[in-house]
Amino acid sequence: MMRTLRAMPTLIRVGMVEAIAYRAEMVVWLLTTTMPLVMLGLWTSVADEAPFRAWGTRDFVAYYLVALIVRNLTSNWVAWQISEEIRTGAVSGRLLRPVHPFTGYLGTHLGAVPLRAVAVAPVLVILLWSSARGVLVTDVAHLALVAAAIVGAWLLTFGVFLCLGSLGFFLDKAMGIIEVYFGVFAIMSGYLIPLALLPAWVRDIAAVLPFRSMLGDPVAIAIGRVPDAGDAARLVALQWGWAIALLALASWLWRTGVRRYEAFGG
């Protein structure tokens, strides 16, 4: 464990160097996550006429810009990376290193966070410059909870993607599952439409799934839709619970999958 912790700064540094080397790919990747801007255009034109279920224009602006920031800060491509490495046998190199392969992936993707932060900084500037800043939380308790929720969303997303990637040990084409996952995520996380605006039965389903903790809940806390700090703390606790559960599931899937691994190629 100590050895892993000592290795982590180097893993993160190399991850940053890799992120810089692959900056063009990252820009393309970020461009694929602009769905909130499309939805923003749609909903602001609706809300321009009259507020929609108590959501005015600036609420939608705040929601989708914060969603864009949270999505870009917390997303990663580890599922695709693992799936591809299993398919080609490249994961063998990681299995021969005396640290858990998840540690290597963690370093790589933590290393990409600073570059992601730089990429979304203009969105934050626009958000703070626009009238939507009025709906953002400003008290210390809520700001701390927003920070904790963004870290939790990162961990939860990482855990979910580790699970999806590890399915590559069991399925020839795990990427297909990832496509299905994204469809469910887009609805149940609030990525397309704020959860509060979805029909009650959809909200009931979303309440028992982890997706809302990945995006909708952190955004809701940030834009003041969870005014009670105790309620917000409960949402963050639930989110961290999901993160731990998904990381544990990923660990089990990996352990079980490695036994089936056939190290193809070569």
Binding site: R6, S92, L96, R97, P98
Partner: protein
């Protein structure tokens, strides 16, 4: 013993279906699986510091065995101990003692200079920075890495990449080396460099080396002992020279000019005659007589060699296949 293998088997379950759309649709409901015995009940031991060649035709089970020994694959049956560990557990202490180099796979970060991979390996293997610098200095000198390690890997030639790959694999100074085709695709000069390096590393660190190569020159130059497998079964384990002697108890005698054509035919089977140089195959029992005859006629321009290892292997596999049941089958790609 550094490596102990007893009754090792590794079987794969492989989905098979005939070509064509109808077969593809049928396979949605009825998938046919075959069990392929990639490695079938093999046993051997290797002592500390030995250099052993691991030979066999394509699909014989060499790479599968290497992957089991390095902990990448779980054995289906049998026991394996390497450096006192069960490899499939992949305990950190075990992984710090071994390395697996696959000529057709790379561990270097493709778009970054090899120096970044070295930094990464130094951190994850927990190598002391001073020791890493010393090892890297040693490897740089032996492999001629100067000027290579700060260029992106993708811009290196195949040979340069292989040298950097070896350095990355040895930075933590493993004591057991599994080398799977380490010279594949390299030119002759680079093959010699890599061979010399492997021998030097083995001697400096008393490292155990298990090597597969399709270049028999690698094996002849490096491995006093060979283990041969075919169809997943072990068919020979022992001294390389003894194997050559048993399989083809002949020598090749080459000379230039001096011997009249009618006498050449009486010396032995002519295997090559070009550019004025003749090579004849001579049974060992007649070697002294033939050599003294050629020396009388052709003078000092004479060479006596063992037959090529390729010929020995060809004969070995042919003989075994003629006398044994059909091999178990091909492992998956």
């Amino acid at each position: 013993m550094t490596i102990e293998v007893a009754g090792l088997s590794k079987h794969f379950r492989v989905h098979r279906r005939p070509p064509g759309l109808a077969a593809a649709v049928r396979s949605l409901w009825h998938r046919r699986y075959d069990t392929v015995k990639a490695v079938d009940d093999i046993s051997f031991t290797i002592a500390r510091g030995e250099r052993v060649g691991f030979l066999g035709p394509n699909g014989a089970g060499k790479t599968t065995t290497m992957k089991v020994l390095s902990g990448l694959l779980h054995p289906t049956a049998g026991t394996v101990r390497v450096e006192g560990h069960q490899p499939f557990r992949r305990e950190p202490d075990f992984l710090r003692r071994i390395t697996l180099v696959m000529g057709q796979k790379q561990q270097l970060l493709w778009d970054l200079p090899p120096s970044e991979t070295y930094a990464l390996n130094r951190a994850v293997f927990g190598v002391d920075p001073a020791q890493a610098a010393q090892t890297l200095g040693e490897l740089t000198e032996l492999l001629g890495l100067a000027g290579l390690t700060d260029k992106p890997t993708r811009q290196l030639s195949l040979g340069e990449r292989m040298k950097c790959e070896l350095a990355a694999a040895l930075l933590h100074r493993p004591t057991t080396l599994f080398l799977d085709e380490p010279t594949i695709g390299l030119d002759v000069a680079m093959q010699v460099t890599i061979r010399d390096f492997i021998r030097d590393y083995n001697q400096r660190h008393d490292a155990t080396v298990l090597l597969t190569s399709h270049y028999m020159d690698d094996v002849v130059a490096l491995c006093p002992r060979v283990i041969v497998i075919d169809g997943g079964r072990l068919i020979h384990d022992g001294d390389l020279r003894a194997l050559v002697k048993t399989m083809i108890p002949d020598k090749l005698v080459s000379f230039t000019g001096g011997v009249p054509a009618d006498e050449v035919a009486r010396l032995g089977e002519v295997v090559k005659a070009e550019g004025g140089r003749t090579t004849v195959r001579v049974p060992e029992a007649r070697l002294r007589e033939v050599v003294s005859h050629v020396l009388d006629r052709a003078g000092a321009d004479l060479a006596v060699e063992d037959p090529p290892l390729e010929d020995v292997m060809r004969k070995l596999f042919k003989d075994k296949r003629a006398s044994a049941p059909a091999p178990a089958g091909e492992p998956p790609p």
